[in-house]
């Protein structure tokens, strides 16, 4: 593929043909604010936040959807561009509620970042129109379309990347709003609860629900002062340290790599890892919402148990292991069998079959691959 040379803010840049102006600028280390752009999606060019000046082009083209051309001269930071961005952002904010402090996205919200970067003052006068009711995204997430900025990222990712098309843009009282066909619950429109839409949403419109085991803390706060419990909890949450760790989904054979957000030894959330070679930023409902609750389930086995007088009683590792070793030593090779697990690691399966063959002297070792 040929290379194309262009100038961005006086800087010479060379990129492959077909690159967008936005990507070319990124490569040159020049930041252009965006909103509807998302790396997993085809550019839609509908928010105009990424507008730039290009010599010989009329108006201010959207850099996210304009391909580079040889000799192009781009300016990303002129007065005209800056004015335009401020106007555009003001228009977007006109009907955005002013409740950042209680919003689950507070401080990780792309809209807040835009405001800071573009440099406008938020008119402190809340929109007065009537509010939409907050909807469920099944048991897993909530959809508060009052916070929606109509960037379309959720609709596009559901359609383009997931191939589902559960959510659409539709006209409500003369305006484009996101929703489901005929306002049916997500369960009925083919939603897979993969949360790709949630992860793509730049604002607090789509967010994870507070999982059950943390709802208790919420209840306590509520009984104390319901008006500010949201705020207290979200602030508290932010001051707890959150680590991101990476591992593999334990469910199906796809082997999705997931990022685990961990607080105080507890998995708070799992999101797909864009660098996972098998999943490339995708996952499904089981990986996204089905892990932390079983890992931290109170039902987990925590101590070795041994049968005494007919019932299983707690014991020490030492006693349990001795009992197993002693008992298993008693049997002839064709009297024992070992069942390994398709949930165990390679290393564990290796050790288990080695144990069967080298210690118990039997090849009667199998696992549930068949199921």
């Amino acid at each position: 593929m040929g290379k194309v040379k262009l100038w961005i803010d006086g800087q010479e840049v060379e990129v492959p043909e077909g690159t967008t102006v936005l990507k070319a600028a990124e490569e040159a280390g020049i930041h252009i604010p965006t909103l509807c752009y998302h790396p997993l999606l085809r550019p839609s060019g509908n928010c105009r936040m990424c507008a730039v000046e290009i010599e010989g082009y009329r108006g201010l083209p959207a850099s996210c959807s304009t391909p580079v051309a040889e000799g192009m001269v781009v300016r990303t930071n002129t007065d005209r561009v800056r004015d335009f961005r401020q106007e555009t952002l003001r228009a977007i904010l006109r009907d955005h509620p002013r409740e950042c402090i209680a919003c689950p996205k507070n401080q990780s919200c792309e809209l807040q970042e835009l405001i800071a970067y573009v440099g406008i003052e938020v008119p402190y006068e809340a929109p007065t129109e009537k509010r939409f009711e907050v909807k469920d995204g099944g048991p897993f997430f909530r959809r508060d379309y009052n916070l929606c900025v109509r960037c379309g990222r959720c609709v596009r990712i559901c359609n383009e990347v997931r191939g589902v098309g559960a959510i659409v843009f539709k006209e409500v009282e003369g305006r484009q709003e996101v929703g489901t066909p005929l306002d049916r619950p997500l369960e009925e429109v083919g939603c897979q609860f993969c949360a790709a839409c949630v992860d793509a949403c730049p604002t607090g419109a789509l967010t994870d629900k507070i999982p059950k085991w943390r709802a208790e803390a919420r209840e306590r706060e509520d009984s104390f002062c319901p008006e500010i419990s949201d705020i207290v909890l979200s602030l508290y949450d932010r001051y707890r340290e959150r680590e991101s760790k990476s591992s593999i989904c334990p469910y199906c054979g796809v082997g999705c790599r997931l990022v685990f957000e961990v607080q105080d030894g507890e998995i708070i959330r799992t999101v797909p890892d864009p660098s996972g070679p098998a999943n490339k930023g995708l996952d499904c409902v089981k990986g996204r919402f089905g892990i932390s609750e079983f890992v931290h389930s109170p039902d987990r086995l925590k101590t070795p148990l041994i049968r005494k007088n007919g019932s299983l009683e707690e014991t020490s590792w030492d006693e349990a292991l001795e009992a197993v070793a002693k008992q298993l030593s008693k049997y002839k090779p064709d009297e024992v069998a070992v069942i390994s697990s398709a949930k165990c690691t390679n290393e564990e399966n290796y050790v288990i079959q080695k144990f069967a063959r080298a210690v118990l002297k039997t090849n009667s070792v199998d696992h549930c691959a068949r199921l």
Binding site: C194, S247, K286, E293, L328, V338
Partner: protein, 527 residues
């Protein structure tokens, strides 16, 4: 899989048979849907109208257990229409003439009659698969969980070889493995007939190799028992003790009622798991295991990709990684060769004794992932199998004859029961049933039943019915839907309250020993 997950996006035609990919392997389902959005053709062959059908060019709704007929019928069309890849067959394969003769038995009329699929539809689908190359074939448990599952698998391979759809991007025969490390468990020799890396236990030289590597003598040379055989041997009193790691056979084995009695016969049962399971009442010792989130090691996914992972949280209570527990037992039995102090050390040993994992070392896995075979540390891994030759040299065409399900519907048991999986649960539900949200969306078992059949039985949606087979009965709510054709009813098997495997037929494939989960005869009783 012979090819990679990403590779599915390169196919011009995708044939998905016996796999409800969007529910069982959602991320692969996404790739298929995306391929279709980008212009690929999709053929879905499934007894049930699964969600992928929406995206399909052709939908072949064949009766459960008639896969051989369908696949051989398609092969016959391809040969009759002269669409087979002569060059590939000649240079890469053998036994084509024999195979061709066996196609004589599969006239379109016969195939259409057996499968219940319109002959013209089969013809068109076959032509599409043969002409829109590269074509990728995906299958899952709908192919393997039959008494003739091995023949089904051979039939898929025949079709791919016939059209030269092997060894190139966007092609392949791609089984989708159910559990996250089924592939790895097989690779590591958790099978009765092979050491790690599919090295046969009956081969004296290989035994010698492992005896040397492990510092032991007299490794057993006869093939051991498979899972179903183990249960038979427990029942007959031959097997007296079982060491059971991280499994839950009380729900997942076929013919559950029978199994309960079997477990009671054991003199000694050790269970090592993360949760108390339905098998626990029969255990003599229970050992608490760490879950994946609390340990490190490698998993091998369905595309043969080995990935390293680290712990993300500490283990609860005294739970320990399975490898540690097994090593402790071995050491206490006086064995040497179990002094591993980390998973890295175990992987080092795997590298030494497993040729296909020879180059998949701890060091490399910290930077990247590798697909086996990867024999040496300078080998890049193998994303696509059989690019130059098949493992055994030439691809062998297998002549096949038609075999249907072992148990056919009759007057007493007029329906075919097939089992399925829900997107929202996993396997026997030991993990997913602990998740509130997943239970809210899907919290109980249903029997899916066709509207006409429901009308015949006087059933309404939500009525509780008894599903009865020759082996037992379970209760569940009726869900009236035309996803499956008349005469076929469907249940999942995630719910221990409605243990479907009480009903299923333990008859299994003579080679793979996989039980026939996908077809058995039942009757429906209104309550």
């Amino acid at each position: 899989m012979t090819n990679t997950i990403e590779d599915i996006g390169e196919a011009s035609c995708i044939l998905a048979i016996g796999t409800n990919t969007t529910d069982t392997h959602p991320v692969i389902g996404t790739r298929v849907r995306r391929a279709v959005l980008n212009g690929a053709h999709l053929i879905v062959a499934n007894p049930r109208r699964i969600p992928l059908v929406k995206h399909a060019t052709y939908f072949l709704q064949h009766r459960p257990g008639t896969d051989i007929a369908l696949l051989m019928g398609m092969a016959r069309v391809i040969v009759d229409e002269d669409l087979h890849d002569r060059e590939f067959i000649e240079s890469r394969c053998e036994n084509f003439e024999e195979f061709k003769k066996s196609l004589d038995a599969f006239s379109l009329d016969f195939v259409s009659e057996v499968t219940g699929v319109n002959a013209e539809l089969i013809r068109r689908a076959a032509i599409l698969y043969a002409t829109h190359k590269p074509s990728s074939l995906l299958y899952a448990m709908g192919i393997t969980q039959h008494t003739h599952g091995t023949d089904n698998v051979l039939a898929t391979a025949n079709l791919a070889m016939l059209t030269g759809n092997i060894g190139k991007r966007g092609t392949g025969v791609n089984p989708l493995r159910g559990q996250n490390n089924v592939q790895g468990a097989c690779d590591m020799g958790a099978l009765p007939n092979v050491f790690p890396g599919y090295q046969a236990v009956v081969d004296e030289n290989l035994r010698k190799k492992f005896e040397d590597a492990w510092g032991v003598d007299n490794l057993p040379g006869e093939i051991g028992l498979t899972l179903p055989q183990m249960f038979e041997a427990i029942n007959s009193g031959k097997i007296k003790a079982v060491y059971l790691v991280g499994e839950n056979p009380a729900v997942s084995e076929p013919n559950l009622e029978h199994l309960k009695n079997v477990f009671q016969k054991l003199e000694f049962l050790v269970i090592q798991d993360i949760f108390p399971t339905e098998s626990m009442p029969y255990a003599h010792v229970v050992l608490p295991a760490a879950s994946f989130a609390e340990k490190d090691g490698t998993f091998t996914n369905t595309e043969r990709r080995v990935q390293w992972f680290d712990p993300v949280v500490p283990a609860p209570g005294q739970a320990k990684p399975d490898w540690w527990v097994t090593c402790e037992i071995a050491k206490r039995m006086g064995a040497s060769g179990f002094d591993f102090t980390s998973t890295k050390e175990i992987l080092d040993e795997i590298n030494k004794v497993t040729p296909s994992y020879g180059g998949i070392t701890y060091g490399r896995l910290q930077m990247t992932t590798l697909q086996w075979p990867c024999p040496s540390t300078d080998h890049p891994g193998t994303p696509i199998l059989h690019t130059q030759a098949f493992t055994r040299g030439k691809g062998h065409f297998e002549p096949l004859t038609y075999k249907g399900p072992q148990e056919m519907p009759d007057e007493e048991f007029p329906f075919v029961l097939t089992t399925a999986r829900s997107l929202f649960h996993f396997h026997t539900g030991t993990m997913t049933r602990k998740v509130t949200g997943l239970n809210i969306i899907r919290g109980e078992e249903y029997v899916e039943i066709h509207p006409d059949d429901a009308a015949g039985l006087g059933l309404k949606d939500g009525d509780v019915v008894r599903v009865v087979s020759r082996r037992g009965a379970v209760e569940a709510k009726a869900l009236i839907t035309d996803r499956a054709p008349k005469g076929v009813v469907t249940m999942d098997f995630h719910f221990s309250e409605s243990p479907v495997n009480v009903l299923t037929n333990p008859a299994h494939d003579p080679v793979s020993r996989i039980p026939e989960y996908k077809a058995c005869a039942v009757r429906i009783e209104k309550r």
